[in-house]
Symmetry: C2
Amino acid sequence: MRRRAVLGGLSAGLVAGVAAPAVAQSLPEIKWRMTSSFPKSLDTIYGTAQIFAQYVAEATDNRFQIQTFAAGEIVPGLQALDAVSSGALEAAHSPTYFYYGKDPTLGFGTGMPFGPNARLQHAWWHFAGGKEIINESLAKFNTISLACGNSGTQMGGWFRKEVNTLDDLKGLKFRIGGTGGKVLERLGVVPQQIAPGDIYPALEKGTIDAVEFVGPYDDEKLGFAKVAKYYYYPGFWEGGAMLHSIINLDQWNKLPKFYQAVLNNAAEAANNWMLAKYDAVNAPALRRLLSRGTELRPFSMDVMEAAYREANAFYNETAATNPLFKKALDSVNDYMGEQALWWQVGEYSYETLMLRTRIKR
Amino acid sequence: MRRRAVLGGLSAGLVAGVAAPAVAQSLPEIKWRMTSSFPKSLDTIYGTAQIFAQYVAEATDNRFQIQTFAAGEIVPGLQALDAVSSGALEAAHSPTYFYYGKDPTLGFGTGMPFGPNARLQHAWWHFAGGKEIINESLAKFNTISLACGNSGTQMGGWFRKEVNTLDDLKGLKFRIGGTGGKVLERLGVVPQQIAPGDIYPALEKGTIDAVEFVGPYDDEKLGFAKVAKYYYYPGFWEGGAMLHSIINLDQWNKLPKFYQAVLNNAAEAANNWMLAKYDAVNAPALRRLLSRGTELRPFSMDVMEAAYREANAFYNETAATNPLFKKALDSVNDYMGEQALWWQVGEYSYETLMLRTRIKR
C-alpha cells in the first residue's frame, strides 16, 4: 500500500522489474514443472499439488501453468528436493521431513513427534517464526517453501497383536519412517523402511509386525485391515503433518512480485483444501473399517509418555550440535507453551462438548 | 484446465469476456469499497478485511484495489449486507449471522450454538454443501460470499457471580446477541443488546450481570476484568465463528473469471490469517488476565446440556417453517454426525496428548 502512495500514477509493474512482457501490467506466460513426492494412488495428497496448480492457473487467466508429476515420473519421491535444488525442476510438493538427513531442522517444517496439531503448525509457520527458520535451512539448497497442505492427525498404524506395555514394543518390526522411527527405536522397536507396494505382503507373511501409513482412507486402500486387526491411535509422531510447495530460489526470485503473491495465496487455499479433503474421506473410511471388524485401540499413556521422554532426549542431542535445529526446537516449544492453556480453555473445551453432543452411539 | 485444452493457442482472456482492457491477458484496474462490520479497535477482526484487500492487491500488481472502511464510516456495522445488496458498496466483511432476521439460514454461515468448530465449519463450507446453501440465501439479496476468517472458539463471557445451576440463569441480565441470546432466553436469561462502548459502564453499575464479547484479547481491552471476576468457557454459541467477504452479485459477475479466482484464494489466505492471529494474541492475553486475578470457570454440564436441548428445539421450530433453514440444519447435522468419530479418534486424542505434555504448570 505504501508503494502505491509513493508511485502515484506510475505503473507499479514497471518498477517491480518485470522483465519479459511488453506491457508492464500484463500477465506473463510461465510454465513450471512440479513433482509430487507421492503416487497418484494417494489421490488426496497428490491431489493437493494438482489443486495448487489449478488455483495458480485460475488466478492468472491460465498464463502461469504448473504441470504436476507423480513420484517416479521424473524423479523418485525422496529426490524431489534435489531436483528442485539443482534447477532440474522448478518446484516440488513434498514434506520437508523427507530431507531430515540433509538438515534435521527440516523435520520441523512438516512436524516432529509430539509437535503441534495442524492448526498450530500452520500458525507457528506464519506467526511464530516457523517460515523463517525452515526457509533459512532450505536456502542452503537454493529453495524456498510455501506451506501447502496438512494431513491432520494421522493414525498410529496397524498391529497384528495388541501393544499394551513398553515390553510389547521390544523387537517389534514396525514399518515406520522418519523421526517417529528414530524415537521408537530408542524403545526397542525395529523400524522398517518399505515402499508402499511391498507393505501388504510383508505384513501378511509376518515379515513385519505392524505398519503405519497415513489415515483411514489411504490405509483402507492398501488393505491392511485384512491382515492386522488392531488400529492404533493417535499417530503421535505426525500430529499435523504439513506439506510444502518447495520452489527453486532462482525461479522464485525472477517471478514478478505479484506472481509470488499469487503462489502464496494459492498455497494457502490448497492447504485448506487438503485438510478438509482428508477429513471428508477419512471419516467414512474409518466407519467402513470398523463395520468390517477393525478394532480401535488407543496407545497406552505408558507407551506415549516413554516415547515423549525419548523424543525430547533425541531433540536435545541433535540441538547440541545443530544451532538452527536448536532455534527451531526452542521456537516450537515456546510457541506451544504459550498456546497450550488458551487451546485447552477455548478449542479443547468446545470440542469436548461438540463430541459429547455429536457422537452417534 | 479443460478450457485451456479446448482453446488451444487462443487467449483464454478474450473468450472470458473481459470488457475494458485493450490486451486480453492484462490486469484490468478495479477499485472497490469494502465496509467491515467492526470498529478498528477490534484490530484482529477488522485487520482481516485489510489483509484480504492487501492479498488481492499484491496478487494483481496493485491493479485490483479494495479500500476498507470500519463500521460507521460509511454505513453502520449491521447494515453492511444492505449496503452491498443495494450496490452502494461492492463488498463487506461481516458475519452472516448478523442478518439472521432477514433469513435465519444465514446463521449457519457463521455458525450456530453447538455448531462446528473453526476447522469443521470451513470444511462444511467447502466440502459438504455449506457454501451452496448460504449463497442460495445470499442470492436473494443479490450478494455472494467467500469464507474469510474465523475467530476460533470464543469465550463464554464475564460474570459478576458464579453460575452453577440452571436456577442461576433465571433473570440474569446478560449482554449477548444473536442466536446464543435466543437459546439462553428459553432458560430464563434476559438477553441485552448493548453497543461495545456502553458495556463496561453497564456492567460496572450492575445494570447488567454479565457480558460476552469475543475472547481474551478483545475482552481485555474493554476492561471487563476490573468489574467481573469470573470468566466462563467455552462460548458454546460461537464454537468457530466464520467471517465472510460478502460481494455484490452484479460486481462479482462482471469480474474477469481470473479476478474471481484471485478473490477466492485471497479469502482463503485471509481466513487462515485471522484464525492464527487470534490465537497469537489471545494466548498471552488470557495469561495476563489470569495473572491479575481473573478466575476461569467452565460452564456446568447441566447448563450446557439444557442449552443444547433448547437450541435443538429452537432449530426444529425454525426448520418447520423455512425449507432452506431445514436444508442447512440437516446438512450441518449430517456432516457433524459423520465427522465426530474421526475427530475423536484423530484430532481430539492427539490434542489430549498435546495438552498433557505442553501445559505449563
